[in-house]
């Protein structure tokens, strides 16, 4: 596959010098995101996130499988990120690039390891049957800041998702089809979001939020902070060789918290809007099969 064309020296210097003069190519503030748009599909568990020209589609699905032998009480939860040549011709099928590995590691740490989804609730029969929840992340267009867009898409897809209802009766497990019983939502504990800072300049003293693809190619380092709206940090990943001042990083996490609160509110509003759209005739409350906690 052809290699991605690197920006020329002139382009790089132009971006760098503009940043020194407190300007970004698209006229944004340093701590300003591109407009984030989120839409849900007709099916449950499909979320489409557009961040400027970056577009990510996440689809959550579930099926019944056998749990892992060493974790008989836990369900299976996987996030699959495979970058297709659709995002850029330099990505190849079945050959993960560094971008892809980093993306899947970060999503893993942010969503899976932070316990956002209660995997114990996915267990049906200890050691024999459990739900396997899988999220597929499809990057349709890559224009920088894949991590934040993908994380938002994964969280939105999982919160929107409904799995088939089940019942246990005298040792017999029944999985109801959508025609029999209204599917139930996952047991969701908190919604983490990623906020990525990019650092520019020789000392890494210029910090910029939501870098575009061109800016990502010029940056000297980046720092991804994952946290939820309560300010609980799930992980911090600082990548790139250039060291960054600790006080500057603290400042970054403060701004990140404000952004995450905005994302959380937006996601809640969108989910409520979607629920209203689906609730035709107001029968949803009666159709619901799950019990309130």
């Amino acid at each position: 596959m052809p290699r991605e064309a690197e920006p020329s020296l002139n382009e790089k210097q132009f971006v760098a010098q503009a940043l020194q003069e407190n300007l970004r190519l698209d006229g944004r503030e340093f701590d300003q995101y591109r407009p984030l748009e989120l839409s849900f599909g007709d099916q449950y568990g499909v979320a489409d996130v557009t961040l400027g020209r970056t577009r990510v589609l996440a689809k959550a699905t579930a099926e019944v499988t056998v749990p892992y032998a060493d974790r008989p009480l836990d369900g299976v939860f996987t996030i699959a990120t495979e970058l297709s040549p659709m995002a850029s011709p330099s990505f190849e099928v079945n050959r993960p690039t560094e971008t892809e590995v980093l993306l899947s590691r970060l999503l893993e740490k942010t969503v899976r390891r932070s316990g956002a989804l209660d995997t114990e609730s996915l267990c049906l029969v200890a050691g024999q049957k459990c739900w396997s929840v899988r999220v597929d992340v499809h990057v349709l267009a890559h224009d920088g800041n894949l991590i934040d867009a993908s994380c938002a898409a994964v969280v939105a897809a999982l919160r929107h998702f409904r799995k088939p209802d089940t019942s246990m009766d005298a040792g017999v497990l029944t999985v109801y089809t959508p025609a029999e019983r209204e599917p139930v939502p996952l047991s969701w504990l908190h919604s983490p979001f990623c906020v990525t800072w990019s650092f520019f300049g020789e000392e890494g003293d210029i910090a910029v939020l939501d870098a575009t693809w061109l800016e990502e190619q010029v940056r000297v380092g980046s720092c991804t902070v994952s946290l939820n709206k309560h300010g609980e940090i799930c992980q911090i990943a600082k990548l790139g060789g250039t060291p960054v001042d600790a006080v500057a990083l603290l400042q970054c996490t403060n701004v990140a918290l404000a952004r995450v609160k905005e994302f959380s509110d937006m996601l809640d509003a969108k989910l409520a809007e979607d629920a209203k759209r689906r609730d035709k005739g107001g029968f949803m409350a009666e159709l619901r099969a799950e019990n309130d906690r």
């Binding site: 596959m1 052809p2 599909g41 007709d42 099916q43 499909v46 020209r53 577009r55 589609l57 689809k59 699905t61 579930a62 099926e63 019944v64 499988t65 699959a80 495979e82 297709s84 040549p85 659709m86 995002a87 850029s88 011709p89 099928v93 396997s132 899988r134 597929d136 499809h138 349709l140 267009a141 890559h142 224009d143 088939p164 999985v175 089809t177 959508p178 025609a179």
Partner: protein, 254 residues
């Protein structure tokens, strides 16, 4: 989503690909990107023509043999209509991402091993053609495709155009046919039990959808409405009007 929904398409939806299209019809939504002609890897390089690389990606789960099978069929049909001889030693890469497919509410599906339905093929074909047009890849002809299912209901034969997953489950045979804009048969794939007579009927039905002459569509509104009731959507007219509106939008400054 109802199976009779009219097809919808948008061109140039992805900013970085050479050409792209999003197409939805009969519950299927597919996004395609086309990059090409680009440099081919040495193992794909053909000395006298362009290599057409088709990648089909299911919405959920990993692709398996069924996807590879669809890829091979699409690749050989699309190589027929793209002017591959114009671009020796290069690559035309078509990525088809299935976003949405109609679900059968009466069965719980297995997901980790994605198995794309045979009936997704017309949507894949149509999206690929739209994306190729959007990328400006030279072609001999455009193509239109449709799926037809034959079911036996109480001993009587019933032909369904654009079958839903439930139709396919009960059908005796499912056929996918594609025609070029010169009314030539480009692709004929069938699954299930059927006779030569049945296939001929399917052929005529599919031809009526894919190759309706342009004149028939223009003969007054009532006539068009009758046609729609009789033979489903007019795919060729759809392709033409999609392209026309895209070109009109692109050239509005002129």
């Amino acid at each position: 989503m109802t199976a009779t929904a009219a097809p919808e398409a948008a061109l140039g939806v992805l900013p970085r690909a050479d050409g792209s299209a999003k197409y939805s019809h009969a519950g299927y939504t597919v996004t395609a990107s086309v990059n090409g002609p680009i440099e081919a890897q040495r193992r794909d390089e053909l000395a006298s023509e362009a290599h057409v690389d088709v990648i089909v990606r299911p919405a959920a789960g990993v692709g398996g043999t069924r996807e590879r099978h669809l890829e091979v069929i699409l690749q050989s049909s699309l190589s027929q209509i793209i002017l591959v001889k114009n671009f020796p030693r290069s690559l035309i890469q078509i990525v088809l991402q299935v976003e949405d497919s109609p679900e059968n509410d009466y069965v719980n599906t297995k997901i980790v091993q994605a198995s794309l339905n045979f009936a997704v093929m017309p949507a894949l074909m149509q999206t690929a053609v739209l994306a190729l047009l959007s990328a400006g890849v030279p072609m001999k002809a455009t193509a239109t495709a449709t799926a037809v299912a034959i079911a036996r209901v109480d001993g009587a034969k019933k032909i369904t155009v654009d079958p839903s997953p439930r139709d396919i489950e009960t059908a005796q045979s499912v056929h996918v046919l594609a025609f070029t804009s010169h009314d030539e048969l480009l692709l004929a794939e069938s699954e299930g039990d059927f006779t030569i007579g049945e296939w001929d009927e399917v052929y005529e039905t599919a031809k009526g959808i894919c190759c309706r002459p342009a004149a028939a569509a223009k003969e007054g509104m009532a006539m068009v409405l009758d046609d729609d009731d009789a033979g489903g959507t007019d795919m060729r007219q759809f392709l033409r009007s999609t392209m026309e509106s895209k070109v009109a939008a692109d050239l509005h400054w002129k």
